[in-house]
Amino acid sequence: MAVNIQADVQQQYTGEYRVNDFALMVATKNGSGSQTSNAVIIRSLFRMGIPVSGKNLFPSNIKGLPTWYTIRASKDGYIARAATTDIAVCFNQDTAAEDIANLKPGGVVIIPSDWKWGRSRTDVIYYEVPVKELLTQAQIGTDFRERITNMVYVGAVAWLFDLPLDVINRALLDQFNQKAKPAAMNFGVVELAYNWSRDNLVKADPYRFEPMNGTAGKILIEGNEASALGSIFGGVSVVAWYPITPSTSLVDGIMENLNLRKDPETGKNTIAILQAEDELAAVGMIIGAGWAGARSLTATSGPGISLMAEFTGLAYFAEIPCVIWDVTRMGPSTGLPTRTSQGDLLFLHFLSHGDTRHPVLLPGSVKECFEFGWRSLDLADELQTPVFVMSDLDLGMNLWMSDPFDYPDQPIQRGKVLDKERLTQFLEEKNEWMRYRDYDGDGVGYRTLPGTDHPRAAYFTRGTGHNEAATYSERGDDWVKNLSRLRHKMEHARTVLPQPIIERDPAKKIGIISYGSNDPAIIEARDILAAQGVQTNYMRVRALPFAESVREFALSHDRVYVIENNFDGQMAQILRMEMPEDTRHMISLACGDTLPMSAQWVVDQILAHQ
């Protein structure tokens, strides 16, 4: 494979290697096919047994703007975003200068040799690769050339850091759904670049991958697909949505896996998917469906949540089950549609005018995306209220390593629904049925579904004032009674929503409270802090309104750090609101810098306060 380009002249590295513990950042242009090349590297590492995570930092654009993808290998199993990168693949001329400037000393640059550019730094290692020549030699037609360019860096990375070619070939086949032709075309370029690198580059850096046994039995999946699968296993039957980044792939995930919900006899679906004209209609549809007895959900992001506010209040007040996924992005306003945030927490919890309050589930992993996928549908039916699930862009759109998902540990819960027989029995036992009367002391009434063939089944659903019998009422006492019951229902919700995960040693006086996708950063930060003598307990909140144990944890430490990825410290605000006690020992550490949280940020923040 002789390509007549002068190889770089650098000293062969002879020191100790840094194995499976570094981050590689790939800078490309959006729409250039780098998703594929990066996924192939991740899948290859995963197959080699190396714990790996990928963070895609992409623009709100179809083609042309810069995009960065960070792949982190961690022999210790840490999967949070790495705050610094060791290796930069600079395949975007527009950002190359900045990408190189940001590299730490001793870092590695992989860059096309075709560009006219000058080396701006002397403290990094450069590998120049003749991209154009290699593509010409591979005889890639102009139609495919742009999208296949990135396979050149895959080949170079493979040789430089020891990724076996056969592993890459298998990852390519997986990536192309076992279609041999595109896989082979891409692999041809990988192989060419690999061989050229072997023949022409001198390995001058200490980084390398080695097979290990850190991913056995694990899966690799994006959060949105996990949420989609959870919903499918939760028996969702009506999905209405309006496309919005970063939630779109959640509904896509349901569509792609519809085969799981096809009736074997007729081949017809047991899920209706409705693409609405906007988010107002989307939530209206799932409320109509929930009212009629379907298991319904929508998926959206911040701007869509804003539009759903009025309808959500109706569903809360009229007590109609439905599930709303908010895969959050940066707000306010259109904000940064392709950057991650936890900025919708307060808004979701209190969405709509008047005295409203909604359960919000907070998955902290892809495994919980799956679990809360099915559980949210149960909870909505059981509590007869809209249930929000707040995921985020990081969790939803990045690939995560995880243990396989557990099958639901309980049958589908439909809540208190009186069908014809149950209504007959209920009337016999109680001599009455009032839709909004609290018969069981949990604030949840019994509902009938439209179409129930019983002369007493009908009731009138409304967002206006009503009494226990669902009759229109403007009476103050009816209003107070109804709102009191709704509040009581939310108190009851505290006991049935997912409880916090608490890691606690009474000897430790510092507590960390966090939630959602911050979990990997906190886990890693606690290890770093412990190594420096700062011992911490940790509670990961998994739902609003809080369980009682959340209060206990918050109040039983000398110092509590509330760590979250928004700008205003919204979880800290809710904690303070819920605790009349002195909370001056509670320190809000809110990141909100548009990126997934890194352990380094957590460590720096805590050490600054210790």
């Binding site: 039957s237 047991t270 209206g284 929930g290 009629a292």
Partner: protein, 343 residues
């Protein structure tokens, strides 16, 4: 006299109306009650849906044996879409107003029609906002004067025209003071498979009954021109009145429009050469009437129903709301093999 399922007309009533005495909306509720009674509709299969406004209160005043849903302003179509998708066995009767449909809910109205959601969509159109005490609506007439809000300088939206353009396969207009026609159209609409729009001019006795205004009772009575005399024959109709009705019609001037379920509407032309099966002429006729400031009432447009929204969803026949758990949750083995594919 009990109907075919043994119910009296009074069984189809609802709660007492809280609308102003003499409101045209109440007579529409009465026509819905009569239509449901005549058709022997099982009330438990009917759902009543509405948005917000005077008109949207009315589902509480008819068919007390049916589930009702008074939703939010202008967004009832999406609720109807979700409910009828969740349970395709339901018969949906929706009531809206000119503000609810023509202003805040215009987008959802058009999309409901575009999807052909099987709903009888009755607009109780009084050309004014009643509950907020008399502002202009999008169907208020150009040049109309109101006490507090002065002169309306904007042209009116014609909700029937919008329905036809949007692809609606059943579009009718009536007048709340014309009980027989309204009732006949409601019956036909219930038998129609797909969205059936009936825009019923219903004068507001309190805020928009200036005899000069064209949504007033006086104006309506004077300027209403029926496109046809109409009669509706349910499927398998054997009432002796049928013969009399037939005798009333001149065979040469009669059109029979068959509904999807085998029932049909008979139309007798009066003084307009109007074929409701011709889309272009339906549009032209409405535009002409608009220029001449006339109400044309009757079945303005009808075509063979397109597939309903439910038909396009490729869903199982059992209503989704009634699927048993084993149809809703894939097996443990399915999850295991799925997990394998992510390894």
């Amino acid at each position: 006299m009990p109907n075919a399922i043994g119910l009296e007309r009074t069984d189809y009533k609802g709660g007492t109306s809280t609308l102003c005495p003499g409101c045209g909306h109440d007579s529409i509720s009465n026509q819905i009650i009569s239509a449901a009674y005549d058709l022997s509709l099982p009330m438990t299969r009917v759902i009543k849906l509405s948005g917000i406004g005077c008109s949207s209160k009315t589902p509480a005043y008819f068919l007390k044996g049916s589930h009702g849903f008074n939703s939010v302003h202008g967004r009832m179509p999406s609720v109807a879409t979700g409910a009828t998708t969740a349970n395709t066995d339901l018969i949906a009767v929706a009531v809206s107003g000119d503000g609810d449909t023509g202003s805040i809910g215009f987008g959802q109205y058009k999309h409901l029609i575009r999807r052909n959601v099987p709903v009888v969509y009755i607009i109780e159109n009084n050309g004014v906002y009643g509950l907020t005490k008399g502002q202009f609506s999008a169907t208020s007439d150009e040049g109309q004067e109101l006490k507090y809000y002065g002169r309306n300088e904007l042209p009116a939206l014609d909700l029937c025209l919008e329905a036809i353009i949007g692809g609606c396969t059943f579009v009718a207009r009536s007048f709340s003071g014309d009980a027989k026609q309204a009732q006949t159209l409601i019956k036909a609409a219930i038998s129609h498979r797909g969205t059936a729009v009936i825009d019923i001019i219903s004068p507001c006795v309190t805020f928009n009954n200036d005899p000069k205004g064209n949504k007033s009772y006086d104006y309506g009575k004077k300027h209403e021109i029926a496109l046809h005399e109409i009669d509706f024959m349910p499927k398998g109709y054997v009432h002796p009145r049928e013969e009399i009705t037939v005798a009333d019609y001149d065979a040469g001037e009669m059109i029979e429009v068959e509904m999807h379920d085998g029932s049909y509407i008979k139309l007798k032309k009066v003084d307009q050469e109007h074929d409701p099966r011709n889309r272009a002429s339906a549009i032209a006729t409405l535009e002409k009437a608009q220029r001449e400031e006339l109400f044309l009432t009757g079945l303005i447009y009808y075509e063979e129903p397109r597939p309903t929204f439910g038909d396009t969803m490729h869903i199982v026949e059992t209503p989704l709301a009634h699927l048993p758990d084993n149809k809703l949750r894939p097996s443990q083995e399915a999850l295991a093999s799925l997990m394998q594919s992510f390894m």
